[in-house]
């Protein structure tokens, strides 16, 4: 088992596929996806193999598993400098293997779906090349055993996210969204980079192994390091105030939204916090920051999601909200709650996005107000989408229920009561907005004439597979399977068993959200009296415009920067250019004098020389006939002449 190859192959196979596709993608034509699918299948199987290796010893001897986790850890020196050396290492512990499985399995299905969705695109093979590069970077991020390698993967997925959001760069909106995503996440990356540099400076060791034992060396910097890491995670996972890029990222192709901006990449922030949890645990301030930001983002995004009419944007804000929930779970100090929700969320959110993609593919627009009654025409899409919606709303026994319940229990156990209230409110809003989306899209009467039909099997197939996962994967963390997932991650589930009243409350809250949505959008009952509605209109407008965050950024950050640039320009033009011009005029006068000297004295000399050379050149120019045979003849004559000079006549 000391062989590193299988572990290193997990990220390398997609990289290889990227190389093949980028170089000869056009030749492969419609067979291009086969390469990337095969490579990713290889990665998935290798991840599965790691998973088996991890579960096997625990099955034989639970004690041995607890004392010595069967994680695989390999390093080799990469860049030696001085006494230190930068190492490349991969770590396959339960956390990373879980992520690997999520990324590869869900990613594989999304890739399969993309064949149908991207069919006929002029850059078909390029799309799969980017996807492969993304998987390579993501798996590097997940498997990295130290911060630098993680950072490489981190920036790699950022790059791929940029490339894929602006994949249709002919659309200005897509190109701008890509730029926005890249720049906003860069702001977050800066935090992560600062944290990495601080850790390197203070502890001299960037490995993830024994992170907890080295946390003490950070001294009074410890909370700041943790918060900086969370700052980076917030950028990637689109937490307030760095969330603005994610809704815009929906300009990319829908499989990309599903894969990168719902299931995997945005989860990287959650993964990062879970991975560096030992740095957070000794610092209550840092944990509280995580919890507060998570809770705020969650509630904030859930309210926005209730007002949007663009199907993908609803899902985008819902992703923000769910990521906030995960962060809230992590803020309790338990890596498990957040990670579990990450896994279940990856399944149902990928399914929701792919379902939305299927609808968009058929309708050619994304406005739910113009849809309706689609379930007749697209039964598979409607069924699976609804299933995913129910899973997200948190209705047992579907997956969302179990993970959300886990978060609720953790929040109740570790944080003050307002946090629980926020989590409950988010639950309610989640059920409300997703029911609204489902009802408006698939049920009722069609609001517009359209000739839609069900998507091809290559798209509905992944939908059905993901539906099975969305329904079932939560059971792994339920008491019915003996908390298998908790045991796998090495968490003692005993203390966090959710109370029955809380389970009932969660179901009740979700159910009421659903009923409210049904009443309002299914039957068209006005929920509020007219006077109150008029009164609340400003509030509605505030929410519908996403709390004007983009506008605030525009006014507070971008405009000052633009103005600053303008001022700098006028400063340049007025003061600096003035000085330069003054110097120029003085220089000009001096030059006039020098010119006279030059022209009469220096040039006189130069010109005569040049004239002589020119005449000589004209003479020699005749020799340059441009005919090779001439040159050859001269060469022969020269050789003979030299021979004669050296030897005399033979």
């Amino acid at each position: 088992m000391q062989d590193l190859t299988p572990l290193a192959l997990i990220p390398l196979l997609p990289l290889l596929s990227f190389g093949i596709l980028i170089l000869m993608g056009r030749r492969l034509g419609r067979w291009a996806p086969a390469v990337s699918l095969l490579a990713l299948l290889g990665s998935a199987l290798l991840s599965l193999d790691r998973y088996m290796a991890l579960t096997l010893p625990s099955a034989i001897d639970p004690q041995a598993h607890l004392s010595m986790p069967a994680s695989l850890h390999f390093t080799w020196a990469w860049l030696p400098f001085g006494e230190h050396s930068l190492k490349i290492g991969f770590l396959a512990d339960p956390l990373s293997v879980t992520m690997c499985l999520v990324v590869t399995v869900i990613g594989w299905m999304i890739m399969l779906y993309s064949i149908g969705y991207m069919h006929g695109d002029p850059r078909f093979s390029r799309f799969f090349a980017y996807l492969s590069l993304f998987f390579s970077a993501m798996l590097t991020l997940v498997l990295a055993d130290h911060f630098v390698l993680l950072y490489i993967g981190w920036e790699g997925v950022g790059l791929c996210s940029y490339l894929l959001i602006s994949f249709w760069f002919e659309k200005p909106a897509a190109a701008n969204a890509g730029k926005k995503a890249f720049l906003t996440t860069r702001v977050g990356d800066l935090g992560l980079l600062a944290a990495i540099l601080l850790i390197a400076k203070l502890t001299g060791n960037l490995s993830f192994a024994d992170l907890g034992s080295r946390a003490a060396a950070l001294g009074h910097w410890a909370p700041w390091v943790a918060i900086l890491i969370f700052w980076g995670a917030a950028g990637k996972s689109a937490q307030f105030p760095l969330h603005v890029w994610l809704p815009d990222a929906m300009e990319g192709p829908t499989p990309v939204s599903a894969l990168i901006h719902a299931a995997t990449m945005v989860a990287a922030g959650v993964y990062l916090v879970a991975r560096t949890m030992p740095l957070f645990l000794p610092n209550p301030q840092a944990l509280m920051t995580v919890a507060v930001i998570g809770a705020f983002t969650s509630l904030f995004a859930a309210t926005i999601a209730c007002t949007q009419t663009d199907l993908k944007r609803i899902l985008a804000y819902s992703t923000l909200s769910q990521l906030g929930l995960m962060m809230l779970g992590l803020g309790t100090g338990s890596a498990f709650a957040g990670m579990f929700h990450l896994v279940t969320h990856a399944w149902f959110k990928a399914l929701l996005f792919l379902g939305a993609g299927s609808v968009i593919h058929a309708m050619h627009h994304q406005e739910i107000t113009r849809m309706g009654g689609l379930w007749r025409k697209m039964p598979v899409t409607a069924t699976t989408f609804t299933l995913a919606a129910v899973a997200m709303a948190g209705i047992p026994p579907l997956s969302g229920f179990w993970s959300k319940e886990e978060i609720l229990a953790a929040v109740h156990g570790a944080l003050p009561l307002p946090f629980l209230a926020v989590a409950m409110a988010v639950s309610f809003l989640t059920a409300f907005y997703i029911s609204r989306a489902v009802i408006l899209t698939f049920f009722g009467q069609p609001r517009e004439e359209s000739h839609v039909h069900e998507s091809p099997l290559v798209m509905t197939g992944p939908l059905m597979l993901l539906a099975i996962g969305s329904a079932g994967v939560g059971l792994l963390g339920s008491k019915w399977t003996g908390h298998a997932f908790q045991q796998f991650l090495g968490v003692h589930a005993a203390g966090h068993e959710a109370a029955t009243w809380m389970q009932s409350a969660a179901i009740a809250v979700a159910g009421s959200g659903f009923l409210l949505a049904l009443a309002r959008y299914g039957f068209g009952w006005p929920l509020l009296p007219k006077g109150l509605r008029v009164l609340l209109r400003p509030a509605y407008r505030l929410v519908a415009n996403k709390y004007f965050i983009d506008e605030i950024y525009e006014a507070l950050l971008l405009n000052p920067i633009r103005r600053l640039s303008g001022e700098s320009f006028s400063f340049d033009a007025g003061v600096i250019d003035g000085a330069v011009n003054g110097a120029g005029v003085a220089g000009l006068r001096l030059s006039r004098f020098k010119q006279w000297v030059d022209e009469t004295i220096v040039d006189g000399l130069i010109n005569n020389t040049a004239l002589t050379i020119g005449r000589g050149g004209a003479l020699f120019r005749r020799m340059q006939t441009g005919l090779v045979q001439n040159y050859l003849l001269v060469a022969l004559g020269s050789v003979l002449a030299i021979f004669l000079l050296m030897k005399g006549l033979p």
Binding site: N630, L636, P650
Partner: protein, 181 residues
């Protein structure tokens, strides 16, 4: 004139040896005549035939020098392949029988003088220099030894040559294909 004594060249010249010598000089003359046709014929096709004559003559000279393998190779590669190629080139490009096209350029006179000087000078050197190198084995190389040498000490150049040929092939295809534009 000749100071080289080899077992193959007995001092007494019998009729067979005389015939062989006569054949050698005849073939040499034919070779040089072929070369002259090559460089002087107005009609390029005739020049190619002259080249064939010269190359064939060189092959026979190889036989006289007991390099049979080279003689065969010379026939196969030069006469068989390169010459065919050249003939094709002639037919594809040149106005071969156009009497208005002068065969030589304006520098023919100068070139004639210089090359004649070179040839005469070389001949004088060749006839006067002492070529005797006593103590050297003068047995001709066996074919098996030749093969062994190719595939041991000269293996790398040999393989490089095949690479060069491949490169020339691909390059020629690239250069000579019709311009797609």
């Amino acid at each position: 004139m000749d100071v080289l004594d080899s077992p193959l060249m007995p001092n007494t010249v019998g009729p067979l040896e005389f015939a062989a010598k006569a054949a050698f000089y005849a073939v040499s003359a034919m070779t040089l005549a072929g070369a002259w046709i090559t460089v002087s014929a107005k009609n390029l096709f005739r020049a190619a035939l002259g080249l064939a004559m010269a190359l064939f003559g060189v092959a026979v000279l190889y036989l006289f020098l007991e390099a049979e393998f080279l003689a065969v190779t010379q026939l196969l590669v030069y006469v068989g392949a390169i010459l065919t190629l050249i003939v094709f080139g002639v037919m594809l490009t040149a106005r071969i029988a156009d009497p208005n096209v002068p065969r030589w350029n304006q520098q023919a006179g100068a070139a004639w003088a210089l090359t004649a000087a070179l040839g005469i000078g070389l001949a004088r050197i060749l006839f006067t220099a002492p070529w005797d190198m006593p103590g050297l084995s003068t047995t001709p190389a066996k074919l098996s030894a030749l093969g062994h040498t190719i595939l041991t000490s000269y293996l790398l150049p040999f393989e490089l040559l095949s690479l060069l040929l491949l490169g020339a092939l691909v390059g020629a295809l690239f250069i000579a294909r019709r311009d797609p534009r």
